[in-house]
Every structure is written in structure tokens, then in C-alpha cells.
Amino acid sequence: MSAAAGATRGLTTAAALSAKDLHKKFGDVVALDGVSVEAEAGSCLALVGESGSGKTTLLRCFNRLVTPDRGEIRLGDTDVSSADPVRLRRHIGYVPQDGGLLPHWRVARNVELVLRLRGEPDALQRARRALTLVGLDADKFADRWPRELSGGQRQRVALARALAAEPTVLLLDEPFGALDAITRSELQDAFASLRDRLRMTCVLVTHDLHEAMLLATQIAVIRAGRVEQCASPNALASSPATPYVRMLLQRARIAEPAAT
């Protein structure tokens, strides 16, 4: 399948994940205005844009937290609009900006959540492995309450929770946005190395072009519900397709002829 995906460019069923011509209005507000993106298996697609650009709405279409008014979303061979949303979500990892840990559950119980929902065995062992994977000492953290964690630890737990059930697709909504600069860079490194090891397909929403450059294999710049440009980090930096993308690059102080 990854061979097929590699062989064919464009919107085909070979992509691990694709959105085609999505439209969505909330009342009179247009959130998505004909968006198409896709990600190959094992790649990381960053959705970059300002607040209100529609990037989070687009992300939430992939696990049916939002149902588009028009358009098609596929995960592998599955048409998302015909899938049972609850079953679907249990097979897609999700990391929200604020962690979204359930405050009345200890860390281990939080991390076990999806495994338990899927009724899988050995939830605790696998939760502990996931904690180790994200760089937390399971012995030390498993029995803590979320409120006893720092912001960075909370995001690590949220990441462990998303990874514990070993999803093939991981959605991340500004996962490092609320962290201080040092913690953020630690988590970004941890995430990058995890992604290398686990070969998941990721969709990462961020307003930080630096972060996108660092973590993504493809970057889709979203503005007013449309895709301005979708390209690899290098291609984006070296040949911005629109004045808006150029402005974003300049504002982020990313030199136009980037490395390579």
C-alpha cells in the first residue's frame, strides 16, 4: 500500500488519509470552503494557519467530531461518512491542546481509556508501556492525578493515551501550543523520534510554522477555509506559491532558500 501511495500522486485511494472538496458552514460562518488534502501512510501532514482559518475544523472532520456539509473523507479504504463515529474514534489517536485528561482518573486509568473502550486485554501493561514510550517513568506516574502533573507531563500523558491503542492514524490539535518554549522543544523532539519509530500517519494542527517545518513531511497552509499551498517543508520555504505564504514565511523569519 505504501508502495502504491508512493507511486501515485494526487487524490487516490492509495493515501492513508484524504479529504476531498470539503465544505462546512457554522451558521453563516464559512469554516471550510472546498478543502482537499491527503497524507501518505507514515507521513505527517501539518495544517498551518491562523485562528479561525478552519484548520481545526478540518482536523475534526477526520474523526467525525465535525460532519462536513459536502465532500468526502477517506481513511485508507474507509469512507468516514459511512463509518460508525464511536468505532472510528476508538481507532484514531487524538491529542488535544490542553491534554483533555479526565481529572477524576489517575494517569494509568487515563492512558488505558481507549484500550478499555475497545475491550482489549492487558490494558494496564500496555498503558505502562505507552507511558515509558513518551518518556515518563510508569512506576512514578501511573498512580498520579492529572492535577499533580506539570503542563509538559500532562501533554506526554495525553500523547501516551493516544498511542496506547497503537492507532495507525494520530490527530494532534496544537498539542504543544500551551507549553513554555523549553518544554515545547523537548516534546517536539520526543514526538519526532516516536513518529520515526512507530511509522504512524499524523495530522498536526499548528499555528507555528517552525513546528510544522520541524515535524511535518507535508505542510498545508490553510487560510479562510481554503488550502493556499500544500508542499514539503523545503518546497514551501523555497517556493511559496502565494503572497500569503510568503508573508507567513517572512513573519516566521524562515529564510527563503531554506536548507537544500
Binding site: 474523526n63 467530531l65 464511536v86 468505532r87 472510528l88 474514534r89 476508538r90 481507532h91 487524538y94 488535544p96 490542553d98 491534554g99 483533555g100 485528561l101 479526565l102 481529572p103 477524576h104 482518573w105 489517575r106 481509556l113 481507549v114 473502550l117 475497545r118 492525578w145 492529572p146 492535577r147 495525553a158 493515551r161 493516544a162
Partner: protein, 510 residues
């Protein structure tokens, strides 16, 4: 659901009477009414008729409504009250005309019978302190009219509104008082004695007139029609129990005004228990055997502690009833309000309107609510429970709705994104997170409930309200406290117990 069914079954079982019902005797909440009702009861018992005492009904409307729906069988009433408060007619010209009118109208309209009057006439009495009377030379209402612009009055709300009350004497005598305040029957004598008001209304047979050494002003223009007291009897008793009717009839014409005033004085001034006064009165009239034993033959005025000790069996029974009322109504309120709050949270756009509607229930006056329910639910525990449930709903519905709606939005949204169903989110996330808020609502409802349950005394359901109502009516502070103190302790206890439950339901980590 099992629990709900159990509670409902219990509520209904409590209210089911047996086939052979005793004669239910009620009174209104003032001393004379208590004494007459107790005399009815002892007389019937002496004639071998089983009785059920439900004294202290909160208002004329409650007692009348209960009588009309056969929930009670007999209570003492006054022709004037029947005429003006129930038939809404003008005061009659004479005592005989008043009795004639009520007895024919009540029978044709409601099937209720007025037995022949007890004998004494009772009417409104306008009273002042002896010092006021002496210094201003007040002996009659005509003389009061001249001095009235300097005097402040404390009058029962009833008297202020009735055409045969304040509006009537203003017109008849030209009385123009400097200030008129509405005072309850329980406080107006103290207010007069303490000099906070100068004029009050009372009844000509009140024992307290003697206790506070007051002067009753003569009705020199004969404005107040003299009204007679009589037993009013339900249609059911009148048709089914001629023996009881005959026994009650033995009291007709036997009580003159000096006798009634003396009986009132013994209760209101000397603090002799109602049961003893009633027994002595019936013996004096040779209506019962001298050897007949009555309950409650105890020392009269004494310390609060010795009074509480002497009443401990009664108080234990009343406290148990109070707890029963609070626990059952609170359980039923939780079983209704909790699902209602959750249901409303799902259809949030209509929720505010519904919750406000539930809140309006809270503002209904207790007596009005009870009067409304008597025709449907009768008297006793059942209507009391329904009223208490209605009063308890609001804080629980409101807190359930708000607590579940506002439960940690980030956690709820993450739970949904990771594949929890709506039901799982409700059970495992929102309800546990809302638990402290919901419990706070239940605690509020419970404490209010303990206080409100004193209302039950107004419709013969017992509880700690009974000594409070009776004590206020009989001017017996110890009796009031014997209900009020346990009620206050119960409120603290309930609040403390629920605080423990609240701590237990509070999820860890929050």
C-alpha cells in the same frame, strides 16, 4: 427505578386508611379551637367512638377544604367566619340570622352540617393596655375614634381585610389610626404588652386578655355581629355515624361565655394542658364520668428541660415522623429532579424555561399549596409529602443541570474524541465531575426540607411542626421550643450527614 417504586409504594401505603375509620377531629391553630376539638374528642371516646385527633390546621381554608372532601369529620367553626370567609357574604345582622344562613347554605352547597351552637357568642374585641385606657379615658370604640390618630394598631391580616373587620369599624366609628401593622395572632399580644403597638384585635373569649391585663373597648354602636361557635360536621359523618352526631350534640348550648373564657384562660394563662382543661370541662358539665382518665395529665408551667423530659416520648414520635417526611420527600425529589436535570441538559434550549417553572413552585405559599391538594390527596402524610417534594425539586434540578452542563469541557470533549459514547460520557465523566455540585443541591434541598416539613402540622401530618403550631396558638414558649430545637438540630444533623456523603461522592483528583 426499584427504589422509586419502593418509595411510592411506601407513600401510598402510609396514606391508606383502614375500612373502619375513626372520627377525624380537627381544629384551627388557636387555643379555643384546640380546647373545643379536644372536648369533642374526649366526649366521643367516652361514648365509645374511636377518634383520630388532627388539631392545628393552618387556616380556615385548609380545615374547610378538608371537611368538604371528607378528609376530616368535624371541627369547631364560627358562624361569622363561615359567612364571610367561606360564603363570602356580608356580615349578618344577628347571631340567629348568621346561624340560619350558614346552616342552610353549607348543607345545600357542600353537604356540610352545622350542629346546634355550643352556647357562647364570640366576636371581635378591640383591646388596649390598661394604662392607655386610663390615660386617654378609653372605654368604648367611640372614644377610641377620637384618640385614634395618635394610636398605632397591630391587627391580624384577616381582620384588616374583612368587611366586618377594620374597614367596617373605620366606616362605623370614623376610626383613623396613625399606623396599622399586620401581626400574626401569636405575636400581637406580646407586641401590645411591649408597647410596640397600642391597639389590637382579639376575640371576646380570649384568655390572653386577662393575662396581659387588657381593656376590651365596648362596641357601643353594636357593629360587630355576635357570632356563635358550633361543631361543623362532614357529609360522611352526618350520614354514616348518627351515634357520633348524637354525642357531639350533647355539647350544644352547654358552654356559656364566662365558661369558655375561663377555659381559654386556664390554657393560655395558667398553662394547663389542653387535654386536662377539656376533661375537667366535660366533667363539670357531667358529660363524662369523674373517673375518666385523660392523657397528658402533667405538671403545668415548669422549666424547659423538665418539660422536654416529660414530653420525650411524644417528641421522639414527632421527630421520627419528621425524619420520615424529610427522607421520603427528599428521596422522591432526587428520583424526579436528577433525571429531569439530565433530560433538560440534553434539550438545553427549553431547559431554562422548565427550570424557572420549577422555581416558581418554590414561591407558592405553603398554605395555598396544601389547600389546593386536600381535595385530591386528603389530609395527613400524603399531601404533606407531595408539597415537600415540590419544594425540594428546584435546587436539585438546577444544580444537576448546571453541574452536568459545565463539567470540565476539555475533559468531555477529549472523551468524545477518543470514542466514548454519549452514555459513557454521562456516566463516567460528566456525572462524576458534577457530583459535588449535585450533592450541594441535594444538601440545600434537605435543609430547606427540614424547615418546610413543619408545614405538615397544618394538615394533620404531624412532625415537629405540631408543637410549634400548637405552642404558638397556646402561647406556650416551651412547647414551641420543644419543636423548634429538635428541628434545628435535625437540620444540622442532616446537613452534616450529607456533607459526609458529599465528600464520599466527590471524585478523587478534583
Amino acid at each position: 427505578m426499584m427504589l422509586a417504586a419502593g418509595v411510592l409504594a411506601l407513600v401510598f401505603a402510609r396514606a391508606q386508611g383502614g375500612g373502619d375509620r375513626p372520627v377525624v377531629i380537627a381544629s384551627k391553630p388557636f387555643a379555643e379551637s384546640y380546647i373545643l376539638a379536644e372536648m369533642f374528642a374526649q366526649l366521643l371516646e367516652a361514648r365509645g367512638v374511636r377518634v383520630d385527633r388532627r388539631p392545628g390546621f393552618g387556616a380556615t381554608e385548609l380545615a374547610f377544604s378538608a371537611l368538604r372532601s371528607d378528609a376530616i369529620d368535624v371541627y369547631p367553626e364560627y358562624t361569622g367566619t363561615g359567612l364571610t370567609a367561606i360564603l363570602h357574604e356580608k356580615p349578618a345582622a344577628s347571631a340567629a340570622a348568621a346561624f340560619q344562613r350558614v346552616s342552610s347554605e353549607f348543607r345545600s352547597r357542600y353537604g356540610i352540617r352545622w350542629l346546634a351552637p355550643l352556647g357562647f357568642e364570640n366576636t371581635y374585641a378591640i383591646a388596649v393596655r390598661r394604662a392607655t385606657s386610663d390615660s386617654l379615658g378609653l372605654r368604648s370604640l367611640s372614644e377610641l375614634a377620637k384618640a385614634s390618630s395618635r394610636l398605632r394598631a397591630g391587627l391580624t391580616p384577616d381582620f384588616i381585610g374583612r368587611p366586618d373587620g377594620l374597614p367596617g369599624i373605620q366606616a362605623a366609628y370614623g376610626i383613623r389610626l396613625a399606623d396599622v401593622r399586620a401581626l400574626g395572632p401569636a405575636v400581637k399580644y406580646q407586641a401590645l404588652a411591649a408597647g410596640q403597638v397600642d391597639v389590637i384585635d382579639g376575640y371576646s373569649t380570649d384568655g390572653l386578655i386577662a393575662r396581659y391585663d387588657l381593656v376590651v373597648l365596648a362596641d357601643d354602636r353594636h357593629f360587630f355581629p355576635p357570632y356563635q361557635a358550633a361543631a361543623v360536621v362532614s357529609r360522611r359523618l352526618a350520614t354514616e355515624n348518627p351515634r357520633a352526631i348524637a354525642a357531639l350534640g350533647e355539647l350544644s348550648g352547654r358552654l356559656d361565655e364566662p365558661t369558655m373564657r375561663a377555659l381559654n384562660k386556664r390554657v393560655e394563662v395558667d398553662g394547663v394542658p389542653v387535654a386536662v382543661v377539656a376533661r375537667d370541662a366535660l366533667r363539670a358539665l357531667s358529660l363524662i364520668d369523674v373517673s375518666t382518665q385523660a392523657a397528658g395529665d402533667e405538671p403545668t408551667r415548669g422549666g424547659l428541660v423538665s418539660y422536654l423530659a416529660s414530653q420525650r416520648a411524644t417528641l421522639a414520635r414527632l421527630t421520627a415522623r419528621h425524619i420520615e417526611l424529610v427522607v421520603l420527600s427528599l428521596l422522591a425529589a432526587i428520583l424526579i429532579a436528577l433525571p429531569l436535570g439530565l433530560l433538560l441538559e440534553r434539550g438545553a434550549h427549553r431547559a431554562e424555561a422548565v427550570i424557572r417553572g420549577v422555581g416558581v413552585l418554590q414561591t407558592l405559599p405553603g398554605i395555598a399549596l396544601l389547600a389546593f391538594m386536600i381535595p385530591v390527596l386528603g389530609i395527613g402524610v400524603r399531601p404533606a409529602l407531595v408539597a415537600l417534594v415540590l419544594y425540594s425539586l428546584y435546587p436539585i434540578v438546577r444544580n444537576t443541570f448546571t453541574g452536568v452542563r459545565d463539567a470540565d469541557p476539555a475533559a468531555v470533549s477529549a472523551a468524545r474524541a477518543l470514542g466514548m459514547t454519549d452514555g459513557q460520557i454521562l456516566r463516567e465523566v460528566r456525572l462524576p465531575l458534577a457530583a459535588p455540585v449535585i450533592m450541594a443541591g441535594i444538601r440545600t434541598a434537605a435543609v430547606i426540607d427540614v424547615g418546610t416539613a413543619t408545614l405538615a402540622a397544618f394538615i394533620g401530618a404531624g412532625g415537629l411542626g405540631e408543637p410549634i403550631v400548637a405552642g404558638l396558638a397556646l402561647s406556650d414558649q416551651r412547647m414551641v421550643l420543644s419543636g423548634a430545637i429538635p428541628a434545628a438540630l435535625l437540620a444540622l444533623l442532616v446537613d452534616g450527614a450529607l456533607a459526609l456523603v458529599e465528600r464520599w461522592t466527590r471524585p478523587g483528583g478534583v
